[in-house]
């Protein structure tokens, strides 16, 4: 079979049963792979009322037809489950080389269900799959578990997916890794994997990916790789990593400082890509088949953390347990905190977000040392942050409260609406390091509308308003207008977000890296279609291709509808609408800005064909996408949702 492996692997940890299920051509054309495969399984197999930690729940690891091929950046894996953080649909993506290995072993997807009696790991050796004892690995950092498994299986060249102690302790935002350091960070699937007593999945694949039209495929891949050589985003990302964004973020006022009270800090350069590369950069790294190689390997050379080393950090990883909690003076503290969240296995974004929320609650007197077990949550106190990160991972003291995520923690502490205000979250998931009052109004709109919990930069990744400026004419090409290139305008943003969300969903189904398609625009939508068709032998048209993205997005949106989440929760944190951006940096460009979400939301609904009252996808749209059964599932819920709205039901957080 060309492109796809043609089958998925299902492992039932309760029964110890392993099955291989073929995937029909029709199915593969409908969902393509990766996120598409995963979302379909979650919708069909995880009822909305099921607890995220119920043994019967599923965790899916999806790869796509492009995985393991010569298309740019084909190592990624999408991890999907019902999120313990939000209670809703959740997924995340990781780079590395494990995705290619899974494909080479002969699988397009791995579905995990059930719960093992004792800690186990799965060993996939091509078509041989076994469940092995992991009691000696439980409690270990991913770096140690990785070494131990490679020794045990006598092969240093295998690739392994792993969770850390935080996942084992079911911290609600625990994450997943492969190749030790490459993280699928968000929505808490590490906790679900931990709840199943699963430590990881080791994989060896000796197969390959058959290409339907190899000459054509080679031509497209070659053309794209030549393009990358002079691509401005590639150059920036290769040289400096995603930390290349720090100084831009600071200038344009989207670098979170003290829980997004401010959009920057005068000392931001301490943690910039430039500074990082001159002080602590040990190696540059690339995920499978990547022409960019934005990965970093860091070694701290001085100060109290000297000697620590780890893979990373990314911008989004370093900022939350850095400037977001008021730490910037000593960048080594920031690198150390990033190392901690990696070793412990927690989403850096959510960890920093919950600590910074707690710090703001403390700042405003909503909580005191009585609540924190004596800890004084002062901004910028590294001792506190270092302690709290570990307390969260091991669920100790105040850390045990924070391990629930900011929205639940706020309720647990009895802080009411005031507490929720400072969680800077939508649908219970926190904002990453991107203040939309500076990053862009398109991003702001997509924060409200994200289908894995809002406040998520990766559902649209509408870089047309960000790196779009590096590609003159690109906005006109897709949107018909260059005005949307400007971040702080609403012009064209409803269409931009609609287009980019669909595009990004396809990219996630292909499971290629969005740095090649959205940060850098070297790989245009047409290019993706070209390499997809040449690889698989299909002749999909551009609209069929993008329709898959729209289908996946709507399926996820419908899953939220089943959880009675819709228009009422299509909101951004009120900080962005209520608080004009204050000045904190001399050259800041967005002083006074607020996010005019109300100007964009109604038009966006029209693009999406969402119903005005509920925000649910319309029956017409769902039928158009071949999701008639989904329309039937939602039908009985409309009346209930509207009556809840009329009764002014409390906001849905999780």
């Amino acid at each position: 079979m060309d492109g796809w492996a043609g089958q998925r692997l299902r492992v039932d940890l309760t029964k110890g049963k392993i099955t291989k299920e073929p995937l029909t051509l029709e199915y593969r054309k409908k969902w393509i792979g990766g996120r598409g495969f995963n979302s379909d399984v979650i919708y069909n197999e995880v009822p909305p009322e099921m607890s995220p930690f119920d043994p019967r729940t599923r965790v899916c690891f999806g790869v796509g037809p492009m995985n393991g091929t010569a298309a740019p950046s084909t190592g990624r894996v999408t991890v999907t489950c019902k999120s313990p953080l939000t209670g809703g649909f959740g997924d995340s993506s990781m780079g590395g080389h494990w995705g290619a290995e899974v494909k080479y072993a002969g699988y397009d997807q791995i579905i995990i269900q059930g719960k093992a009696k004792n800690p186990v790991y799965i060993w996939i050796d091509d078509d041989k799959v076994e469940i092995r004892d992991a009691s000696h690995l439980w409690g270990k950092f991913p770096r140690d578990a990785d070494t131990m498994i490679k020794e045990e299986l006598k092969d240093e060249d295998i690739h392994i997916m792993l969770i850390g102690p935080a996942g084992e302790n079911m911290v609600r935002f625990a994450c997943t890794f492969n190749d030790v350091w490459r993280a699928a960070g968000r929505t808490g699937h590490g906790a679900v994997i931990g709840s199943k007593n699963l430590k990881g999945i080791a994989t060896r694949g000796s197969g390959g990916v058959k290409i339907a039209r190899p000459k054509e495929f080679m031509e497209v891949c070659n053309k794209l790789r030549q393009k990358f050589k002079n691509d401005p985003m590639k150059i920036g990302l290769y040289e400096l990593g995603s930390l290349c964004l720090i100084n831009f973020a600071n200038k344009d006022g989207w670098l979170p400082w003290k829980n997004l009270q401010y959009g920057g800090t005068p000392l931001a350069n301490n943690m910039s890509g430039e500074t990082h590369s001159q002080t602590v950069l040990k190696h540059r790294e690339g995920c499978y088949a990547c022409p960019i190689c934005c990965g970093r390997f860091t070694e701290i050379k001085e100060g109290r953390w000297a000697g620590e080393h780890f893979g990373g950090p990314e911008y989004e990883h370093a900022v939350p347990t850095g400037p977001r909690v008021g730490i910037i003076e000593d960048a080594n503290d920031i690198w150390h905190n990033a190392r901690l969240t990696n070793d412990l296995g927690m989403d850096g974004i959510e960890t920093g977000a919950v600590i910074s929320s707690a710090m703001e609650w403390y700042q405003r007197g909503l909580i005191t040392t009585k609540d924190t077990g004596g800890m004084e949550l002062e901004w910028g106190d590294e001792d506190v942050v270092d302690q709290l990160i570990q307390d969260i991972a091991y669920r100790r003291g105040f850390g045990n409260v924070l391990a629930e995520g900011a929205s639940r923690a706020s309720d647990k502490l009895g802080l009411g609406d005031d507490g929720q205000y400072y969680t800077i979250a939508t649908r219970g998931m926190a904002l990453p390091g991107d203040d939309p009052r500076g990053l862009g109004f398109g991003y702001g709109l997509s924060f409200a509308m994200g289908t894995r919990g809002g406040c998520d930069h990766l559902r649209s990744l509408c870089c047309l308003e960000l790196s779009g400026a590096l590609y003159p004419g690109l906005n006109t090409k897709y949107l018909g207008d260059e005005r949307p290139q400007k971040p702080t305008t609403t012009a064209g943003k409803p269409y931009m977000v609609y287009y980019e969300e669909n595009q990004k969903a396809v990219v996630d189904c292909l499971n290629v890296c969005c740095f090649t398609t959205h940060w850098s625009y070297a790989v245009l939508t047409q290019d993706q279609l070209d390499y997809f068709n040449a690889c698989t032998g299909l002749d999909m048209t551009l609209d069929e291709f993008l329709e898959v993205g729209e289908r996946v997005h709507n399926l996820e949106r419908a899953y939220w509808a089943l959880l009675m989440s819709g228009a009422r929760e299509d909101r951004v944190p009120e900080r962005f609408t209520n608080e004009p951006m204050p000045q904190h940096v001399d050259y800041q460009t967005n002083v006074g800005a607020t996010l005019p979400i109300g100007e964009m939301l109604p038009k966006y609904y029209k693009y999406r064909d969402y119903e005005a009252g509920t925000g649910f996808p319309s029956e017409r749209k769902l039928k158009q996408l071949g999701l008639g059964y989904v329309a039937e599932d939602i039908k009985p819920l409309r009346k209930k949702y509207m009556s809840e709205t009329e009764k002014k039901k409390k906001k849905y957080y999780y």
Binding site: G480, E550, K603
Partner: protein, 80 residues
């Protein structure tokens, strides 16, 4: 080919977010079919302009101009 009058054109050109309204207008005037409306909503501006040029709704010169200069130019070519 004139699909709208100058007043409609002016209204569209001044819109903050015009694409859906343009597609709706073209469908209403039967310049594009239901299916084509759906296709261009998904695939974007450039594909729409390509199509209008191919179908001679606008001249090749106007299509080229619309690709380069964006929708205000397109809307002008579509109006009388």
């Amino acid at each position: 080919m004139a699909v709208m009058n100058k007043q409609q054109a002016k209204k569209l050109a001044e819109m903050n977010d015009f694409f859906l309204d343009l597609l709706n207008l073209l469908k209403e005037k039967r310049v594009i079919s239901n299916k084509e409306h759906r296709t261009f909503l998904l695939t974007g501006y450039e594909k729409l302009v390509e199509h209008l040029g191919k179908k001679k709704i606008i001249s090749p010169v106007d299509a080229k101009k619309a690709m380069k200069s964006g929708f205000t130019s397109l809307v002008s070519s579509l109006s009388k």
